[in-house]
């Protein structure tokens, strides 16, 4: 049995995952990164994207939205605003959200509204990440 690392995913609504896992792959700020057991202390910001972890033969995917992650003492903690299991994502809803966000983005671009644009962009990113996560599951 290979060594394992403790994975914790915490959102404002409570802890989502708290398990010992073999490997964690996360969407870091500068690109995806993988973390194995006994990783050196590490701190990175997290983009909206897909987080995967493996535990023996089990492989889980999670859609995470922005936050950061900390590795220390053989424990990896994700602090993200939201996290959803790939299996729980409603793809139709995400599709609709994507279309909505695209429409809003186009509108915001026309009227040059920076704030709305940023919001629509974030919404679009989340929707895309959801769809991707659900498909990779």
């Amino acid at each position: 049995m290979a060594q394992q690392i403790r994975l914790e995913v915490v959102t404002p609504k409570g802890a989502v995952v708290s398990e010992d896992v073999d490997i964690v792959n996360a969407p870091g700020y500068g690109g995806d990164f993988g973390v194995l057991a006994n990783h050196a202390p590490f701190l990175s910001t997290i983009k909206i994207g897909t987080l995967t972890y493996e535990q023996g033969r089990k492989r889980e995917t999670l859609m995470v939205s922005g936050g950061f992650c900390e590795v220390s003492n053989n424990k990896i903690t994700f602090l993200v605003e939201s996290a959803e299991f790939g299996s729980e994502i409603d793809v139709d809803r995400a599709m609709r959200a994507k279309e909505r966000a695209e429409k809003r983005l186009a509108q915001a671009a026309q009227h040059d509204e920076a704030f709305n644009r940023a919001r629509a962009e974030a919404a679009l990113k989340r929707a895309l990440a959801r769809i991707k996560t659900a498909k990779s599951n």
């Binding site: 404002p12 701190l43 910001t45 950061f68 900390e70």
Partner: protein
Amino acid sequence: MPSLKEVKTKIQGVKKTSQITKAMNMVAAAKLRGAQEKMEAFRPYTQKFNEAMSNLSGGATTDQFPLMEKREVKSVELVAVTSDRGLCGSYNANIIKLALKKAKAYEDEGKKVTFVCVGKKGFQALNKTGKVRKKYTDIMASFQMFNAREVATDLADNFLKGNSDKVEILYGEFRSVAVQVPTFSAFLPVQPVEAAGQEKTKKISGDYIYEPSTEEIMDVLQPLYLNVIVYQAMLEVGASEHAARMTAMDNATSACKDIVANLTIVYNKARQAAVTNELMDIVGGAEALK
């Protein structure tokens, strides 16, 4: 002596009121449970967040981040987080009182004071001062993280523009169902977080690998940290509001009971008086016929 009918109507009215207050008490109790659960759920997040922040700020110097910049304080912004609805005893009034007291203290020192109101009750009271810069009302019933972010981003922007040199946040701290204390905490400039459990957190911050870099992480973390503070305050206020309303409504219900008891005595006396009067009439009439 009030007439029988008057007293009877009054008793019925008070009884109806007590039904309402009792129902409100129960609703508040149910909502309190929800709010408390929300608070419980958020606790691990804050805890981890503070740990990470204290690890980080151990290695960082404070002046290089605009949000941590300590300037000479000329204008102070006070963020009053209150509930949207009333009927919760002196709860909101206490926060408002604290806000006004702080504002006066700062103004006596010659500083400019502005208010930002989260929650309708605070706005209604503080608007009279004419110093409210911004308000966020009707969000307390079902607020989410993004509501907190909106507030936090605006406060940070205002701070960065130099319109405020110091921001404090005032809210009702939820100690227990019976005790809610109006408190304030410094919001901006961001204070370096002190490690809560000193013995637990070893000073390992220097050994961390940061990606992309300490500065950029701080740039992301600090706004997030502000969100967390605002969200936390809103959660506390949410729970405190319901707890305060529960107590207030409980008091109101028992006050209603007292009033009903007193009125019943009045009613009985009035009825007895009426009976006696009638009897005397009858006896008088019978005497006269003899």
